[in-house]
């Protein structure tokens, strides 16, 4: 009876939308970590994307240009991170945290003139008869194009890492940068590309929030989405499809708890909102217990600095 008002198709549809921004950011970070770099600045790059995407979408009035701008905005911050960690050899954890703080502050400044403006609408993709299929149509085929492109991106990353030569080189760099270097691969160049890709993805994730999900700019609007994305990468043990499953799970928890509340069920919301982090801590504990490390797939050189002379 209480569940009567919850429509599973709508739940599924809402879950996909809720998962998209964190999935975009997570898939980018997954590639970064696969190359052996830990960038904790996802939140900062996301908010940068949310802000730049919004500013650029509002000015010429096109959401697509906005998304391109968001990717560029995320990449600019990522480039700063790459400069710090790859060229200047700074600590990755500290640089990543700094990047988040810097991004939040910079966007608060840049976005000041843009509070309270409505962005151009991103249309839903018209999938014709597909969207009329009972249940499936409502659940899967009435989204904006970004939702589908995100799924495609997950597939592309999976294929890239598993089947392409470049992807294997990237994994080699992440697993053992000394060996990759000895084989003649350019460790820093590979990592630079990975970091930039991560920035672009985080930027797109942020823009999904400011241009579609919330459709407005307010400073600090990502409210921790970047951290969930980071948690997601570990949760997924660095596998693209698992990251997608995890994102849908996290998104599902959020959407389901809202639906249950609206239906009048009392649920422990605080515990649910803690759950992504709790699960991540659990996974981290498993990883750090040596033997499990390999099976959990953590890149061998993750968060280890590389200098060609060493």
């Amino acid at each position: 009876m209480i569940f009567g008002s919850i429509n599973p198709a709508v739940l599924m549809a809402a879950l996909m939308v809720a998962a998209t921004p964190i999935l975009l950011a997570a898939i980018g970070e997954l590639v970064v970590e696969k190359s052996g770099v830990l960038n904790l600045g996802v939140e900062g790059m996301m908010i940068m994307g949310a802000c730049m995407g919004f500013i650029i979408a509002v000015n010429p009035g096109s959401p697509l240009i906005g998304f391109a701008g968001a990717a560029a905005g995320g990449m600019v911050l990522a480039a700063l991170f790459a400069l710090l960690t790859q060229a200047l050899m700074t600590n990755q954890v500290a640089s990543g945290l700094a990047l988040t703080l810097f991004g939040l502050g910079l966007t608060a400044l840049l976005g000041q003139q843009y509070v309270g403006i409505t962005p151009p609408r991103t249309p839903r993709l018209d999938l014709g008869p597909l969207s009329e299929i009972p249940f499936l149509g409502r659940a899967f085929f009435r989204h904006d194009i970004v939702v589908y492109l995100t799924v495609a991106l997950v597939g592309a990353v999976w294929w890239f890492l598993k089947f392409t030569r470049a992807g294997m080189i990237m994994r080699a760099v992440g697993e053992n940068h000394e060996a990759a270097h000895a084989l003649g691969y350019h460790v820093k160049r590979v990592r630079l590309f990975a970091i930039l890709f991560g920035g672009a993805c985080a930027g797109l994730g942020g823009a999904y929030l400011s241009l579609i999900r919330v459709a407005g700019w307010t400073e600090g609007m990502t409210v921790g989405a970047g951290w969930i994305a980071l948690a997601l990468v570990v949760f997924a043990s660095w596998r693209p499809w698992r990251a997608m499953a995890g994102a849908y799970l996290f998104g599902g928890v959020v959407v389901l708890q809202l639906n249950l509340q609206a239906a009048g069920v009392r649920i422990p919301v605080e515990y649910l909102s803690m759950s992504p982090y709790l699960i991540t801590i659990l996974v981290l504990v498993l990883i750090s217990s040596g033997r499990a490390r390999a099976s959990l797939n953590a890149p061998g050189s993750l968060n280890k600095p590389f200098h060609a002379s060493s």
Partner: protein, 354 residues
């Protein structure tokens, strides 16, 4: 999560003060001044305060200050740098205000919507939001066609709970079939969560959305979905010209000016002020044209009678959710009961969160 603290000092223009040093007034905010809601309301008041006193007052703000260690650090810093009066504009700063106030007895602390007053240099002030919520309930109850009103609530604290109860009682009074669906976000400001919550409520049949959270996301979602909504703390009509029926607008300025004047006169002392329509601390945003003229008049009359003290939104008979009597026929709720309210009234179907 760490938040960047953005501090800005709005110093008076470079004309040297004629007599005394300017009174330094600091504000700490839980959200950004650009939230177009709660924090924006306080910052409007700060600007009015600055305009009112001109060079005689120097105000400074720190936004996005988390409860706890962050807030203590910011207020300590303010006190150390010679601030005479600190406005802490959020409920959760209570313990921090009391801890800092104990160490700086010469600084006057003003804590919004708080309840802890351990030191003689802490004043508490609050607005009777439930008065405004009664008006929202009355309008919402009449405007809803699906007889379902969605309510996005932040934390189950008395101010929010009494708001839900007040809105429900007045919606129910004009529409016996009305039903409330309530979502707690456990956050004051999370635009994407508020947007999701609004979508969920609309999906479950709500055609009027009320919110006790600070972002404008829900109003925007309502506009897109073609349903109605009420803004929060500020007039949010720009975010949903069709959807936005009205909003309870906070006007702290008269109180802020009064308190700073008292400090300048040396008459400032700790108080506990709870102000509503009568004092002009809250007012209703202009009615949307889609509200029928007759209903607008009813709403105006309701505001007037509350302001005049002729009508109290919590007038018995009112039962608690479990059916036990709370207020007898004609009995009016005590302020102390409202300030500690931790139960739903009869008729609300959602369970009360623990």
């Amino acid at each position: 999560m760490k938040k960047l603290l953005t501090a800005a000092v709005f110093a008076a223009l470079a004309t040297p003060a004629m007599s005394d040093d300017p009174t330094k007034v600091g504000f700490i905010y839980i959200g950004p001044v650009g939230d177009f809601g709660w924090t924006a309301g306080h910052d409007r008041a700060r600007q009015e305060l600055q305009d009112h006193f001109g060079d005689a007052v120097e105000t400074s703000i720190v936004e996005n200050v988390d409860y706890g260690a962050d807030a203590e650090r910011v207020m300590t810093q303010m006190a150390l740098s010679g601030t005479d009066m600190i406005f802490a504009a959020s409920f959760g700063y209570g313990p921090d205000v009391n801890s800092v106030a104990g160490r700086f007895p010469d600084v006057a602390f003003q804590h919004a919507t708080g309840y802890i007053q351990d030191h003689p240099n802490i004043s508490l002030y609050d607005a009777r939001f439930y008065e405004g919520r009664a008006v929202l309930g009355h309008i919402g109850g009449k405007m809803t066609e699906t007889n379902t009103i969605g309510y996005i609530a932040s934390f189950p604290i008395p101010a929010v709970v009494s708001g839900i109860n007040s809105a429900y009682l007045h919606a129910k009074a004009v529409n016996p079939d009305v039903e409330f669906r309530i979502i707690w976000t456990y956050s004051w400001f999370d635009p994407s969560l508020e947007a999701d919550a609004a979508e969920t409520l609309i999906e479950q049949g709500a055609d009027v959305i009320m919110q006790h959270t600070d972002s404008t996301a829900a109003v925007r979602v309502a506009e897109d979905a073609g349903v109605m909504a009420f803004g929060q703390a500020s007039d949010m009509v720009d975010f949903g010209p069709t959807a936005h029926l009205s909003a309870i607008v906070d006007r702290w300025a008269p109180y802020y000016i009064d308190r700073v004047q008292a400090l300048k006169d040396g008459t400032w002392e700790a108080q506990n002020s709870w102000m509503g329509f009568a004092e002009g601390i809250i007012e209703m945003a202009p009615w949307n044209d889609r509200i029928p003229a007759e209903l607008q008049e009813e709403a105006d009359a309701l505001v007037a009678s509350i302001a005049a003290g002729e009508y109290h939104p919590f007038t018995g008979p009112i039962n608690r959710q479990d059916g036990t009597p709370w207020l007898a026929e004609g009995e009016v709720a005590e302020d102390s009961a409202l300030a500690t309210m931790d139960f739903f009234v009869e008729g609300i179907t959602s369970e009360f969160p623990n």
